[in-house]
């Protein structure tokens, strides 16, 4: 790609030229060029692993490029560490917030830019500046709140305040809406628009085409470490960007056969779950799951979905209620272990794949039989038969498009999407009656998402009852035959996808009803 020339001849805020970066054998950035105009919101889009995070980390001084040039406001700069980037007016709002949770908002904001050795002398001035920012940009946060107590949206505002406090002119946001409710995301976009009005430059890194279309002025697309296109947002379409991202046409429509509901597969009534601290996380939840349907549970992360799922999967005792699964009645007095639940035809793809889904430091073949390792098919007596297991794993890998198809490769060396496909293969292969899936596409790229979605629909069409928990509203709307909304441990909405619009769901998820 030749450098992206600017139409009006203005000096761009950021120019990256020929940026190259390798990590061992991985060529993360290949001669990447990027030009961002001052006062723009510039989208940077690409699949996971396309190299956009690496590129931004180079701009932010977290990594240094092997080759290439960085110009800020037309002046070549060398950015070797975060400090250099901060001096050049570049700040980054990371996907995982860089905040000290035990400290106050004010302490977090001044960290690294305290103004002098004695805090008391500089705190009042800092407080005043925070007030100014709150007014100018609509960034509302209590400076004396402990960061760990704040909701995620507010923590993100603290990150933005931190950046502005350091005098940021160029603000990079890495996947900023991943953890936000739709309303919080709308607030964020309002703040970004205010920043643009004040002449700040914003680089928005995301894989969500909708966000790009909604807020950016211009967009650059990366694929496999290379820059594959620059477009004015007004002159492009989600379809074109999607194609640039994955390098082929994307079949966007998911053709679902009409739902054919069968018998009740799982009946949950009056379920309550307490966490280790005794706090009630799931409060008197009842619902029915039938064969041949996908029931989606929507909700902002942390509203009890995870606890509900773990309780149903036998990973967590519940405090009250009954779960009827096939012929079995599960109650707090008669709990069933995950093993017994599996024997009853329940399969579970947990939300946190690295912690509960597979063994990152073990070979894929070991993760591929995890939970089913006592199956006599995999061994003789107490001994495992690795030949059989290898063949089994290779078959799974082929059928579920796990790449690379190497049963002996360590779990952590697969990409997120391929780890997920391996876990799904393991759980789906047994033709369960009930399949529970948590955040099936978190950190999975577009091609992988599509594959996983199709597999879930195929399960449903075969008569499996699928319970889907996801914070991605698009995913819930796309897959579900029925949508339950969870807020604060309760089910606050039960609706059909045809009858649901995103705004209404968002309000329910935020507990506004």
């Amino acid at each position: 790609m030749p450098p992206d020339p600017l139409a009006n001849g203005q000096t761009p805020a950021v120019e990256l030229r020929g940026i190259d970066k390798r990590f061992g054998t991985v060529h993360a950035n290949r001669a990447v060029d990027l030009t961002v105009q001052r006062g723009h919101i510039h989208g940077l889009i690409g699949e996971n692993g396309a190299g956009k995070s690496t590129l931004m980390s180079i701009l932010y001084g977290f990594y240094t490029a092997d080759a290439g040039e960085i110009r800020i406001g037309g002046v070549p700069v060398s950015i070797a560490e975060s400090k250099d980037a901060i001096e050049a007016g570049i700040e980054m709002v990371h996907q995982h917030f860089m905040l000290v949770e035990t400290m106050t908002v004010l302490e977090n904001v001044i960290l690294g830019a305290e103004g002098g050795a004695l805090l008391s002398r500089h705190l009042p001035a800092a407080r005043d500046r925070l007030k100014t920012f709150s007014r100018d940009y609509g960034l509302d946060v209590d400076p004396d709140a402990i960061v760990g107590d704040l909701p995620v949206g507010a923590q993100q505002r603290v990150e933005i305040l931190k950046a502005l406090y350091r005098g940021a002119e160029i603000l990079i946001l890495d996947e900023p809406t991943g953890v936000l409710t739709p309303q919080e995301a709308t607030d964020l976009f309002r703040i970004l628009a205010a920043l643009r009005t004040q002449g700040k430059t914003v680089i928005l890194v995301t894989h969500k085409l909708r966000e790009i279309m909604a807020i950016t002025d211009r967009v650059s697309v990366m694929r496999a470490g290379q820059m594959v296109g620059h477009r004015d947002t007004s002159a492009t379409s989600p379809e074109e960007l999607g194609e640039l991202m994955i390098g082929r046409k994307l079949a966007n429509r998911l053709d679902k056969a009409p739902v054919r509901i069968g018998a009740v597969a799982m009946d949950v009534s009056g379920l309550s779950v307490r966490d280790a601290m005794g706090v009630e996380r799931v409060k008197n939840v009842s619902f029915t799951l039938r064969q041949g349907e996908i029931v989606g549970i929507a909700g902002v992360s942390g509203n009890g979905q995870n606890e509900l799922m773990e309780a149903l999967a036998g990973m967590r005792r519940f405090a009250a209620g009954t779960v009827r699964l096939g012929e079995a009645d599960i109650t707090p007095a008669r709990p069933l272990a995950p093993d017994a639940l599996r024997a009853l035809g329940m399969a579970h793809v947990p939300e946190d794949r690295l912690r509960t889904g597979l063994l990152p430091s073990f070979a894929a073949r070991e993760s591929a039989i995890l939970g089913y390792h006592n199956d006599p098919a995999y061994g003789r007596g107490p001994l495992l038969d690795w030949g059989v297991i290898d063949r089994h794993t290779a078959t799974l890998m082929q059928r579920y498009e796990v790449k690379p198809p190497l049963p002996k490769l360590r779990g952590s060396l697969f990409s997120g999407g391929n780890q997920q496909k391996l876990i799904m293969a393991r759980e789906m292969e047994r033709d369960p009656k009930v399949l529970m899936v948590g955040q099936p596409t978190r950190g999975v790229d577009i091609g992988g998402i599509d594959f996983i979605h199709r597999q879930l629909v195929a399960m449903r069409d075969r008569g499996c009852a699928v319970l889907l928990v996801s914070v991605e509203l698009d995913e819930i709307l796309r897959l579900s035959d029925r949508i339950l909304v969870m807020f604060d441990g309760r089910i606050v909405g039960d609706l059909l996808p045809e009858a649901a619009d995103e705004r209404q769901l968002g309000l329910m998820m935020a507990g506004a009803n």
Partner: protein
């Protein structure tokens, strides 16, 4: 009244015993608030004790001994830093290695240099830190109770006692009121936040481990050249571990840590007085039992009476930039 008679000397003993505990616990406080676990308090104290006693004995100048103690312990602190920060090694292993190394090395060097079974020669009063007698002590000694409190608890303590207890508010002030303290606390919770704020993580953590070394050095010198009169093999006797327990009990907060140290010291002072005391129907109280009380108390208190002690989040983990 028996208790009233006993109380001043009990309080005086508590303070005497508390000094090395407080110094070592605050050494641990700085190190662990910055994210470096310090099991090596014991070893650094012991090294300080040996250096202090050896140099005082050779030069006859106890202040030179103190200087040597601080310098050696600070070097060991920096060594711990090198292993844990620069080399990203296991912090517990490094601390234990320092303890074992110092225990053996002090013994060996002591034997080679002084030929007295690993001990340093007994120090004359001139080569030790002495007590400070406050003005008016003799005058007030006639007043029951208050005279003894003034003369033996408030005054009459070793000269190192006073800076030790002044160090506590100073440490609190540094941690909570200065830029350095803010950064230390931050780097123990979230080094990535500190790094992305443009503050060097490595330098902060080294500073903390060296401060820990300095405080341990003073504690060691106190044990060998103020409380004692020369170095004896393994003379710190587990006080470094007790200080760690006090730190946990104090939840890594300065004032709470001070109270924990004083509590342990008071138990120790009582234990000495319980030697040979016979409880009717039970017989003599075993000293070992009383001495183990601080440790048992720590477990019991941490098990529920003071709530959960949550260590600094990044404590124990070397900072590695993630890919």
């Amino acid at each position: 009244m028996d208790i009233i008679d006993q109380l001043p000397s009990l309080l005086a003993a508590t303070i005497r015993v508390a000094v090395p505990l407080v110094l070592a616990a605050f050494a641990g406080l700085f190190s662990e608030r910055a994210g470096v676990v310090d099991i090596g308090l014991e070893g650094k104290m012991l090294a300080g004790a040996f250096a202090g006693a050896a140099v005082s004995s050779i030069t006859g100048n106890v202040w030179l001994g103190m200087l040597a103690a601080v310098a050696l312990a600070a070097v060991l602190g920096a060594l711990h830093g090198f292993v844990c920060i620069s080399q990203k090694g296991n912090q517990v292993v490094s601390g234990l290695a320092i303890n074992i190394m110092v225990s053996g090395l002090t013994m060996t060097l002591g034997l080679a240099w002084f030929h007295q079974g690993g001990q340093t020669p007994p120090l004359p009063p001139s080569a030790r830190f002495s007590e400070v007698i406050f003005p008016g002590t003799a005058l007030l000694s006639g007043i029951p109770f208050l005279g003894a409190i003034y003369g033996r608890v408030i005054g009459g303590q070793n000269i190192l006692v006073y800076p030790t207890f002044l160090m506590v508010p100073l440490a609190w002030w540094v941690l909570y009121k200065t830029r350095f303290g803010l950064r230390i606390r931050a780097v123990g919770e979230s080094p990535a936040a500190v790094d992305t704020a443009g503050v060097p993580v490595v330098r902060l953590r080294y500073a903390a481990t060296i401060i820990a070394g300095v405080l341990c050095g003073v504690a060691g010198a106190y044990i060998a050249t103020a409380q004692g009169a020369g170095f004896v093999r393994d003379m710190t006797g587990g006080r470094g571990y007790l200080a760690l327990a006090a730190l946990v009990l104090g939840k890594w907060k300065p004032w709470n840590t001070l109270w924990s140290c004083l509590l342990f010291a008071a138990l120790d002072a009582v234990a000495i007085r319980l030697q040979g005391v016979v409880i009717p129907g039970v017989g003599p109280v075993p000293v070992e039992f009383v001495q183990s009380v601080p440790y048992i108390m720590t477990i019991v208190l941490l098990a529920g009476f003071v709530g959960r002690a949550i260590p600094p989040k990044a404590s124990g983990y070397p900072y590695v930039k993630e890919r």
